[in-house]
């Protein structure tokens, strides 16, 4: 009260204090904005990195075949027989050999040709033939996925490659068997510039990339190159094509020994492409196929269904039990030492690492109760235990936030405790309880560790039909695909992560929507 004579904000000291206070407010606001900005940019970075990784898995390359499903071979196929995979694959193999006769007498080339399409790729077609009797005796137009390495090559992920137009050449000569030379005044100047710009040592020199020269349906691998001439081995096709068609060069900027795709296979791909038999199509099989050892055939369907079945079991158990437990604890139970102890333990359980629940599940549900391994019912039980504390805590805080006056109002006109809770308290607490329940479910959807321990990491080739079938779950599939060595799994993993995120976002949208519905009432 020493400065009571002067008005409160007149003195220099007071003004300074006021300025400091305002500065502190402003500073704090900026700290908050900075924190939010950081969080948002981290999220954007995460999504962008997953999306760029996954984008190449959104489509893949398929090769068209006309399969002759003749009565002689397939006439005796019965609906309960095993799918005739070998017979169908033989048709594919024969088709390719007929198209590329240079492989007929060369076992190494035949092997390389087989590498274009894996044997398992024809399984869906073989199944379709078994299922559909009308397929027998007709020609089937099918599109089979290209083997993963070749697919990645076409997408540019295996080795950087670029196409340089060369144009027509003046003369084409057959130097010796399989070796041709192309000559044309200045025809290869542009190609030479490109090779030196890209840092490819000229062909023939050790350790460089490859230069493939194609015309029409034919391709040769250049072994020597100068501004007015090139020569090399014919990989596929005929010499005639080089006389009648303009020449294009494909520079492959990685030595053949350092990539899983050979120049021969690339030559075949170029020929099939020129035939118009290769197409890039949306990768729906990612959603319709089950897991496979071959990335181009693998899909997440079994894991999606497995996750849904698991969540169904979790929801059926954790939501009613959690909500009823929270209602009892909040509205009916006396406040004493026992309920206090229960409360502390529920809070502690919410902090227990999920892998511990997995161990518990393995010991109790598999060991003591003898429930089936790898089954969604066990996964669902474990996840239900895991999220139960979360659901209870969220539901209790939703119930706590309902004002006491509502309970008083109902009790005072003679409603019983249960009528009070179910008619008046629950409708008001429902949005909060719902949010808690679905956030718990979202956590269950993303859990990996407990499922690993109860064997849901198994390779599942069949779509599970019931909660007791063998199954896997989306996060576990991500884990197992991410640990695979082949590079084709990388975009696939990204794609499954996006599927999982889509599910999570869908759940959150449902929460927002339901909340609005409830709050409007």
């Amino acid at each position: 009260m020493s400065e009571s004579s002067s008005p409160p904000f007149a003195s220099e000291k007071a003004l300074k204090r006021l300025r400091r206070r305002r500065a502190a407010d402003r500073r704090f606001k900026w700290y908050g904005r900075l924190a939010i900005g950081f969080a948002l940019s981290a999220l954007a970075l995460l999504l962008a990195s997953i999306a760029t990784q996954a984008v190449s898995a959104a489509s893949y390359h398929v090769v068209a075949f006309d399969l002759d499903v003749d009565r002689e071979t397939f006439g005796n196929v019965t609906p309960d027989a095993l799918p005739p995979v070998d017979e169908v694959y033989r048709r594919v193999h024969e088709d390719l050999l007929a198209r590329f006769p240079e492989a007929i007498d060369d076992p190494a080339k035949r092997h390389a040709l087989n590498g274009l399409i894996t044997r398992l790729a024809v399984l869906p077609e073989a199944r379709a033939i078994v299922r559909d009797r009308r397929a027998v005796g007709a020609v089937r137009h099918v599109r089979l996925p290209l083997s993963d390495d070749l697919d990645l090559y076409l997408k540019g992920a295996i080795a950087r490659h670029l196409t340089v137009p060369v144009g027509r050449v003046d003369a084409v000569q057959d130097v010796e068997t399989g070796t041709i030379s192309l000559t044309g005044e200045g025809a290869f100047t542009r190609l030479l510039t490109a090779t030196s710009l890209e840092g490819v040592p000229s062909p023939g020199m050790l350790g460089g990339g490859s230069v493939l020269l194609s015309a029409g349906l034919s391709t040769l691998k250049a072994s020597s190159l100068d501004s007015s001439g090139a020569s090399g081995t014919l990989l596929t096709g005929t010499l005639q094509d080089f006389r009648t068609h303009p020449v294009r060069a494909q520079l492959i900027l990685a030595p053949e020994s350092e990539r899983p795709v050979t120049d021969q296979q690339i030559a075949w791909l170029l020929a099939l492409k020129a035939d118009g038999r290769i197409a890039r199509v949306p990768h729906w099989s990612l959603l319709t196929h089950t897991d496979s050892t071959q990335p181009e055939l693998a899909g997440a369907l079994a894991a999606i269904v497995g996750s849904l079945l698991t969540l169904l079991v979790t929801a059926a158990l954790a939501i009613p039990v959690g909500i009823l437990a929270s209602i009892y604890l909040e509205e009916f139970a006396p406040r004493n030492r026992v309920t206090g102890l229960i409360e502390v333990n529920i809070n502690n359980l919410a902090a227990v690492p999920s892998i511990v629940f997995g161990l518990l599940g393995a010991a109790v549900f598999l060991g003591a109760f003898g429930l089936p391994r790898s089954a969604p019912v066990v996964g669902g039980l474990v996840l239900a235990l895991l999220i139960l504390p979360v659901v209870i805590i969220a539901s209790r805080s939703a119930l706590k936030s309902v004002p006491q006056s509502v309970r008083d109002a109902a009790l005072a006109i003679g409603a019983s405790r249960m009528q009070t809770v179910f008619h008046h308290v629950l409708p008001l607490a429902a949005p909060g309880m719902l949010t808690g329940a679905i956030l718990g479910m979202a956590r269950a959807l993303g859990e990996t560790a407990p499922l690993l321990l109860i064997g849901m990491v198994a390779f599942v080739a069949e779509v599970p039909r019931s909660p007791t079938d063998e199954a896997t779950a989306l996060p576990v599939l991500i884990y197992s695909w991410a640990t695979q060595a082949e590079r084709a799994w990388e975009p696939m993993t990204g794609a499954v992560i996006l599927i999982l995120l889509t599910f999570l976002i869908a759940m959150n949208i449902v929460v927002v929507f339901l909340r609005r519905q409830f709050e409007r009432r």
């Binding site: 309970r407 005072a412 006109i413 008046h424």
Partner: protein
């Protein structure tokens, strides 16, 4: 009724020179209330007359609200609250195990300090009580109960065109009258009011006071109030509480003009409180 009066005459001791003309609706004898062992009400005995307004006055924290909540056993909902003594209604102790508190509360309604309509329509606010007690036979019956209750609470003219609007959309005074209508819809015998006007402006307060005066013809009303003017205006009998004890009870005129106790006089003349 005769039986109750006869019993009352038989009790005859303590601070009970009350209810001379009207019959006694509720009779409290030696009430002690403890919150987790801490005593809040000390040996209060009080008879409450039917068809009249009894006002409970006293400084903050004197236990008048606590006492009020004993009368419909709302204290049951408070953890650690213990009530001793007898509260007789038609000769039966409302705290005895044979009495269902739910049933009791349908006979002894309550209106709270802050208007607390359900977050539902005006119609639903009134209809809920009769519905859970099965007081209405059909839709028309229920409509009639709602209309009658709203008319008695003096709210009908204001809301008859918007019965489906949310109860919480009304003004504070209207909400409080809605709460009163909700309380009388279940045909109680006693209505407890815990400072029903403390959150309202003077005009809304005047309307509620008129309403209370009107309701007195049918119900036994007990009102807790901080305003001595209000007690003087609406009540026929007044009980003065201080520090958890009932100091004095009597006709309102007598309490405000010639209190017997020194403490009562000090309080009503504003020397403390």
């Amino acid at each position: 009724m005769d039986g109750t009066r006869a019993e009352n005459a038989a009790m005859g001791t303590g601070v009970l020179p009350d209810a001379p003309d009207a019959s006694v609706r509720m009779s409290c004898r030696h009430i002690n209330v403890f919150y987790s062992g801490k005593q809040a009400i000390y040996d209060v005995s009080l008879n409450i007359a039917d068809r009249s307004v009894t006002a409970l006055i006293g400084p903050s924290g004197c236990g008048k609200s606590t006492f009020l909540r004993c009368l419909n056993r709302m204290n049951d909902t408070i953890e650690g609250c213990r009530v001793e003594g007898e509260i007789l209604m038609e000769g039966k102790d409302i705290n005895s195990p044979s009495i269902d508190p739910v049933l009791l509360r349908s006979r002894v309604g309550m209106v709270f300090q802050k208007p607390n309509p359900f977050p539902k329509s005006i119609y639903e606010n009134i209809a809920y009580g009769p519905r859970i007690h099965g007081l209405a036979e059909g839709r028309e019956d229920m409509d009639e109960i709602v209309e009658k209750s709203l008319k008695r609470a003096g709210l009908w003219e204001e809301v008859k065109d918007r019965l489906t609007a949310a109860g919480t959309s009304l003004s504070g005074g209207q909400q409080q009258r809605l709460c009163i209508a909700r309380a009388i819809a279940v045909r109680p015998e006693v209505i407890l009011m815990d400072e029903p006007c403390s959150a309202l402006d003077p005009i809304a307060t005047a309307r509620i006071e008129e309403l209370i005066d009107d309701l007195r013809k049918r119900y036994c009303i007990i009102i807790v109030t901080h305003s001595m003017q209000q007690a003087a205006r609406v009540s026929q009998r007044t009980a003065f509480f201080h520090l958890g004890a009932l100091v004095e009870v009597g006709d309102t005129d007598q309490i405000f003009t010639s209190p017997r106790e020194r403490r009562t006089e000090d309080y009503i003349t504003g020397r403390f409180g």
